[in-house]
């Protein structure tokens, strides 16, 4: 069957994308800037700006002189690639083979697809109207070869559908730029007075190669369909999902376990191949009476270990009410992360923090007692005791700073400091006596004060003067005075206990 191709040219891809977020940019001259050789130049511009005589590569200062009310935004280097990838994935609705054509186009192999839309005209109109509705200004062409379709989309006039085997007639009217050539070759062709492809298409290829190089001849042959050209099609990301339909409705826990085991084996073998691990998994059970039961698990580290994941799900099977029976199970892994299998140990011994068995234990405990009760702490750069550590987000998170050891900290601390009654002699001396929980403690030894100021950028309030004290029975306490000694309303607190 003859091939048919479609080329979509996004005339103002990046500026259109900015205008989607800020619609007011649509009707004003708007450009993107990028640094080049120590100055800012225009790297993309919208319809209005190009109408005012600006072009890509113009220095931004010059452009501002011409168009004083110019709107400018910073260009992002990988924006076009990302946008095109997203658009290409969306275009899979038109044909299964879609390729990105950097910097501003998409190429599609539409052989055998157009009749589903009721003809080529209807097919192209649908593409144009759908993309315009999403805010993109596009030009779309259809022809037999990639070379022609590319040129037609960008430089074609009139109808952009080239009928089958009329490629050459369309090609001869196009300028040489339509052949995807380097700039200097195009310039040279124009200098020689060759303003359309028709003027040199009949020349012998050997003389053309001698003057313009191999690349030029290849592009021409590609346009004529004499040379093959491959599309690198976009592969849609396959979701991590498994389905298991049941012949007979399942009502027993054993049946659910078997289904779960099969789903997990299928999913884990795929994840093992791709070196991925599951962080969150959802099992849905579709019941005969069209109700859906659902259980969910989470792991602390990515895992693709069937036995472990099965155990996590097993603990929750009791939450699935089978009703009259379950006819379909699905297993989704909405959160999947990189998982490099650890090298197996030469010897089995007491493990390390990175050990897989540890994260599996934490998962089991988390599913039993709720993950909110499990904490790990990392140091934080604050002197204020309550802020000197922070909860870690995962088992893999490494401390960003060291644990401070220059000032001794108590081993036990009260969640909120408790007020105490104190007898203290003179300012900045440790107290002599204090009463805590109705018991009088006589202070024998003391260290301090260590003043810890409030961090004004976080919280306002008074400073604390900490003292380490030891009473007559050998118990050591961490006391502090909130505020200055000569303040009217200072208060003493006990905050912690030293060993």
């Amino acid at each position: 069957m003859d091939k048919r191709y479609v080329s979509i040219w996004f005339k103002h891809l990046r500026t259109d994308w900015f205008a989607l977020a800020q619609p007011e940019l649509k009707d004003v001259p708007f450009v993107l800037r990028t640094p080049s050789h120590g100055r800012m130049v225009i790297s993309a511009l919208n319809e209005v700006a190009s109408g005012k005589g600006l072009g890509i590569g113009t220095a931004l200062a010059d452009a501002r002189a011409v168009v004083p009310d110019l709107e400018v935004a910073d260009d992002k280097p990988e924006l076009a690639g990302k946008l095109l990838h997203r658009l290409a994935e969306w275009c899979i609705r038109f044909t299964p083979s879609v390729a990105i054509d950097l910097p501003d186009g998409i190429l599609m192999d539409v052989s055998g697809c157009t009749h589903l839309w009721g003809g080529e005209q209807a097919y192209l109109s649908d593409i144009i109207s759908q993309l315009s509705a999403r805010g993109y200004n596009v030009s779309v062409a259809m022809a037999d070869t990639i070379g022609v379709v590319w040129g037609m989309a960008r430089f074609g006039k009139g109808s952009l559908i080239v009928p089958t085997s009329e490629d050459i007639q369309a090609l001869v009217k196009l300028p040489p730029e339509a052949l995807r050539l380097e700039e200097e070759v195009v310039e040279r062709l124009h200098k020689l007075g060759l303003h359309t492809i028709g003027q040199f298409i009949k020349m012998s290829s050997s003389s053309l190669r001698r003057r313009f190089g191999q690349h030029f001849v290849m592009r021409l042959q590609q346009a004529l369909g004499h040379e093959m050209e491959m599309l690198q099609t976009v592969q849609p990301a396959e979701p991590y999902q498994e389905r298991l339909p049941c012949l007979e409705p399942i009502v027993t826990a054993t049946g659910i376990e078997i289904a779960l085991q099969q789903l997990l084996e299928a999913l884990c073998s795929r994840m093992q191949r791709e070196q991925k691990g599951l962080r969150k998994g959802i099992v849905k059970a579709y019941r005969v009476d069209s109700k859906v039961e659902q259980v969910e698990i989470r792991t602390t580290r990515p895992s693709n270990h069937v036995g472990h994941l099965f155990k996590l799900f097993q603990a929750k099977i009791s939450g699935i009410a089978p009703g009259l029976g379950i006819e379909l199970f699905t297993l989704d892994a909405p959160r999947v992360e990189e998982h490099i299998p650890a090298q197996s140990k030469v010897w089995e011994g007491s493990g390390t923090f990175e050990d897989e068995r540890l994260s599996e234990l934490i998962d089991r405990l988390a599913s039993k007692f709720s993950g909110k009760n499990i904490h790990r702490y990392l140091p934080d750069e604050h002197y204020w005791p309550e802020r000197s550590f922070r909860p870690a987000s995962s088992l893999n998170e490494k401390p960003g700073t060291i644990w401070c050891t220059d000032k001794q900290r108590p081993l036990h601390i009260l969640a909120t400091p408790e007020p105490i009654e104190v007898t203290a002699p003179i300012p900045d001396y440790p107290p002599m006596l204090f009463r805590y929980k109705g018991k009088l403690h006589e202070i024998v030894k003391a260290d301090g004060p260590e003043r810890i100021e409030q961090e004004w950028w976080i919280q306002q309030g008074q400073h604390r003067d900490y003292y380490q004290v030891e009473d007559e029975t050998g118990h050591r306490y961490w006391l502090f005075r909130l505020g200055h000694y000569d303040d009217a309303n200072f208060q003493w607190f006990v905050h912690g206990f030293f060993a």
Partner: protein, 240 residues
């Protein structure tokens, strides 16, 4: 003909193996307990077993925690992990650093009730990836201590039970300790608080000799309280 003492030693070793102790050669971790080590059957702190600790007075729990933290630090080494299970923990993570534990390698599990603490500890003790499991609980009865002991026999994890009551009921734990704070040791003639000192009583140890010692924590390790602290001049020489 073998010596009588050899036969006795061999029999003792056999009995301790039947009781769940692994021979000392397979687990040679120095907990740096110094003089206390002689009380243990194999001459070193028994790992792969469950130990129970109780504070002598109600406000000695910080001292008990510190003593346990010092032991756990030597078990964790440079890359081990520990689990700290409790229903009402007061532990201040940065404070653990002083006793040689990297606080970010400890995972804290806060549970509502005693029963959950016990079942979580039992589950954790079965995981040989851990170096130590510490659980704070109100009391420990024989049945649950037996379950904990059975869990560690396979995995060789060391369990520490910090109990708050003072009942002397029988448990399956390998040892029972009672810790009390003592007046700290002054450094030379300097004012202020010196090195923390505790009265450590080993009330019961399977196959060993119970005793009582005065232990201090100095320069990141346990020391017998009678050992003199290095004088100021000596310390200065070390630093500078």
């Amino acid at each position: 003909m073998p010596q009588k003492s050899d036969i006795v030693a061999q029999l003792q070793a056999e009995i301790s193996r039947m009781e769940g102790f692994k021979p000392a050669s397979s687990v040679s971790r120095d907990t740096a307990l110094g003089p206390v080590s002689e009380a243990f059957p194999s001459g070193s702190f028994p790992v792969g077993a469950v130990h129970e600790f109780m504070p002598a007075r109600s406000n000695d729990d910080a001292a008990t925690t510190a003593f346990v933290a010092g032991l756990v630090a030597s078990l964790m080494g440079t890359c081990g992990a520990a689990l700290w299970i409790s229903s009402s923990t007061k532990v201040f993570p940065p404070g653990l650093k002083h006793y040689g534990i990297e606080p970010d390698r400890v995972i804290f599990i806060d549970l509502k009730n005693e029963k959950d603490v016990k079942s979580a500890m039992e589950e954790a003790l079965k995981c040989s990836a851990l170096s130590a499991v510490i659980a704070e609980m109100q009391s420990l009865d024989f049945t649950s201590s037996r379950r904990l002991q059975l869990a560690v026999e396979q995995s060789q994890v060391t369990g520490f039970v910090l109990r708050n009551d003072h009942s002397l009921n029988a448990t399956a734990c390998v040892s029972r300790w009672k810790i009390a704070s003592m007046e700290s040791e002054r450094v030379g003639t300097l004012p202020g608080i010196g090195f923390p000192r505790w009265k450590v009583e080993l009330l019961r140890v399977r196959g060993g000799k119970p005793g009582a010692w005065e232990i201090k924590w100095m320069h990141g390790k346990f020391m017998h309280a009678s050992q003199p602290a290095p004088s100021i001049q000596e310390q200065k020489r070390k630093v500078g």
